[in-house]
Amino acid sequence: MVEAPLVWSREELLESGPYAEPLIAGGVRCHGGFDEDGRYRSPRTLHRGPAIAAWQARLAREGTPLVDIDRRLMPPQYPSVAQAKLLLQQGVRDPVVRSLTIISIVEGFGAIIRDVAVPDLHALVVEPVEGTALAHLGEGLFEAHARDESGWREEGGHKQMWEAARDLAFEKPKIPSDVLLRMMGRGGRGERGERLLPELDEKTERLIVMMAQVLAVEVMAEGTFQWGIELLSDPEVSAAPERAGDMVRYVRADESPHVEYLRTALSELRGRTLRTVDGRSLAGREAVDRVLHALLRNLTRSRPRQQRDDVRTTLAEDMKVAANPAALLEAFDALDASWTPPERTGFEPERAAAG
């Protein structure tokens, strides 16, 4: 098999394959489509898929392992499928409708990745970067990611696909008026924490932190996709189990290139040497692992509590529509599964130092 080239133009990375049939979701034309055999094909993957495979093959030849985030670090969705199903069966729809709406909005916000400034990599990285995913971040990869998440022009993206899944499953439900309040609920700007990579200039630090953050969120989203597919495909609670579940499956398929290009770019950085602001050098591995470790440790600690707090803020109020709210709350809590995050993130500083 002939390996794909390593250098691509922005236009090529944004190009979609021919579709036999477009994807229409809830009356909205969405990105992607179906081939002659009726299989879903993600958008903007005609060349992006082969390009990522080629960059990963190059990494393998160089002996640089791909960054891999342990899936066990990702907390389970709250409420769980069983809890969400219980609520829906009791006529309590707002928590699930609210969650799905917030997911759609957060997906849409993925578009901000196009605004991440990419520093001059030739000045930053000691080794050559030609023919890497890194060199293509600002040349199509971020833009493709942004368009996948938020949609572009008349084609809806993941935002509209989650909305369509929600509307199909629950027949255009009324959106709780507090959706934006709950989404912004955690509110405060927060203190500007200590810099994670003070050796590097802020622009470079922002790029690495942003890529690591998005990768962690993308990996974590796997649990959300599984939750969405199971719940929305369940004929006991979903009005359109096949189509609603499929919609989430398509989103999940589209996310795969995002995880792969981010893993690739971070791995390429890990295998190289970075120039610091004071003219010294910093092992890319040390920089990337320091950021990933800090982020993952924070996410595994704060994320489950935040998600739980968000839902429980309005749960009692939402449950008032049920026949017996107190009994429902008890049954809901009985379905709660405990979760303990693994001790190690896999990117501990000592591990980096040892390498």
Binding site: S150, G151, L180, G187
Partner: protein
């Protein structure tokens, strides 16, 4: 109010209305008789300029609801020519104060006590004066420093008389102008707002509502209202001092990062508008301070507005569709927000949006409603009278434009989408 005063106010409005009629209609009739084309462009701009000065002089003479009306006109660049907007903008912070004796009388009557029974000190020179009230610094007997907002005497009667006069003037104008601006709905809206603003207990309640909303946020401060000394016409609140929000040098000298101030400012207003659906609709720099510790201080809740349910989500969808250049989603969002085309042709919205986006630096919408963009939006709507804009949108658009102006002064950007949590 004396009968002679009422008569004087009526005649003063009538004189201004007649002068305006002469400025616009006499040349128009003259030109028609001579078979000349109607005045346009610079010729008409000069007339607008003179007319705006006539209105400004009348407002400064009569104060009260006339000033409120002019302030409202100054915020409606979607309906009025730039000359009016620019001239009348002065009334936001250039209202001469009333003598202290008048203020003292109101406070003592309202509190039912002499000043000395409540205040250890009451500054005779006001901190600020506006259309309906002025604000004085004072110290309570327990030593707490306060700001006291005092309503002008007879203001309710003045509002009634002025409203009646303005309504008459509007009817006459609409009767004689073949293509009149829709002034009466604007006046009705203004009267309802003014009635609310005249009740300081309501303003106090609005301040408390916002105070509760940010109770857990140590970066935001809303002065506490001293309800025990507040009445319908007197509002006593905690006095908080700080740097003017637009004083970049002072912020930096205090060790603060102006970008953080903008981030806080946007977070606060975006939360009020998009999430809470209740907001302080007048975030001009005079109503905002920053304490030396970096806390943002919000003042003046007289113009606070409850937005209709779903407004925040509708506005978000509009901005989101503009960001992704999704025109069908844009049309849906415009309609959900209550925009109406008189012809039923929605493509007008798209033309207006394209004009607005062309005014952004990048030629696309990136989450910020700049002053240039909101000006362009309102210019486009004014030039294209087939569109009706919901009043709530105008208020929100103006507030976001003001915030953008502050952000730019501080060398930053007022990105609404980022403040919502996307960044």
């Amino acid at each position: 109010m004396k009968r002679s005063t009422r008569l004087w106010r009526t005649l003063r409005v009538a004189r201004a209305a007649f002068t305006l009629w002469c400025l616009y209609k006499v040349p128009a009739i003259w030109r028609r008789l001579r078979g000349l084309p109607e005045r346009k462009g610079a010729q008409l701009d000069a007339t607008h300029e003179r007319a705006a000065r006539v209105v400004l002089a009348c407002a400064l003479d009569l104060r009260g609801v006339i000033i409120k009306t002019c302030q409202a006109v100054a915020t409606r660049s979607d309906q009025f020519p730039p000359a009016f907007v620019n001239q009348l903008k002065q009334l936001h912070d250039a209202v001469p104060p009333k003598p202290f004796a008048v203020v003292r009388e109101v406070v003592e009557r309202e509190l039912g006590k002499p000043l000395g029974a409540v205040f250890e000190r009451f500054d005779e020179t006001p901190i600020a004066s506006a259309s309906l009230a002025q604000v004085h610094g004072a110290r309570l007997l327990d030593g707490r420093e306060v700001a006291v907002k005092v309503q002008y005497p007879d203001i309710e009667e003045i509002v009634r008389v002025d409203t009646r006069n303005l309504r008459r003037a509007c009817r006459v104008y609409e009767r004689f102008d073949p293509q009149p601006l829709e002034l009466l709905p604007l006046l009705d809206e203004l009267v309802s707002h003014t009635a609310l603003e005249l009740d300081f207990r309501r303003e106090g309640a609005s301040a408390e509502r916002v105070r509760r909303l940010f109770a857990g946020d140590d970066r935001v401060r809303v002065p506490e209202i001293h309800a025990e000394w507040s009445t319908r016409r007197v509002l006593v609140m905690e006095r908080v001092s700080g740097m003017k929000v637009t004083d970049k040098q002072a912020l930096i000298a205090a060790g603060l990062d102006p970008a953080d101030v903008v981030q806080d400012l946007m977070r606060v207003w975006v939360r009020m508008i998009m999430a809470e659906g209740f907001f302080q609709a007048d975030p001009h720099p005079g109503n905002l301070f920053v304490t030396p510790e970096g806390r943002l201080v919000l003042l003046d809740f007289g113009l606070s507005k409850q937005l209709p349910e779903g407004f925040g989500l509708g506005l978000f969808e509009l901005m989101f569709s503009m960001m992704t250049q999704n025109e069908s989603a844009m049309l849906r969002a415009f309609q959900e927000l209550g925009f109406v085309t008189k012809t039923g042709d929605p493509s007008t919205f798209l033309l207006i949006t394209r004009r607005m986006m062309n005014r952004s630096e990048s030629g696309r919408f990136e989450g910020e409603f700049t002053e240039e963009m909101t000006d362009e939006l309102f210019d486009a709507i004014r030039e294209n009278p087939v569109v009706r804009v919901p009043a709530d949108f105008v208020l929100v658009g103006r507030a976001l434009g003001l915030l953008s102006g502050i952000a730019h002064t501080l060398g930053s950007r007022a990105n609404v989408l980022q403040a919502m949590g996307g960044g």
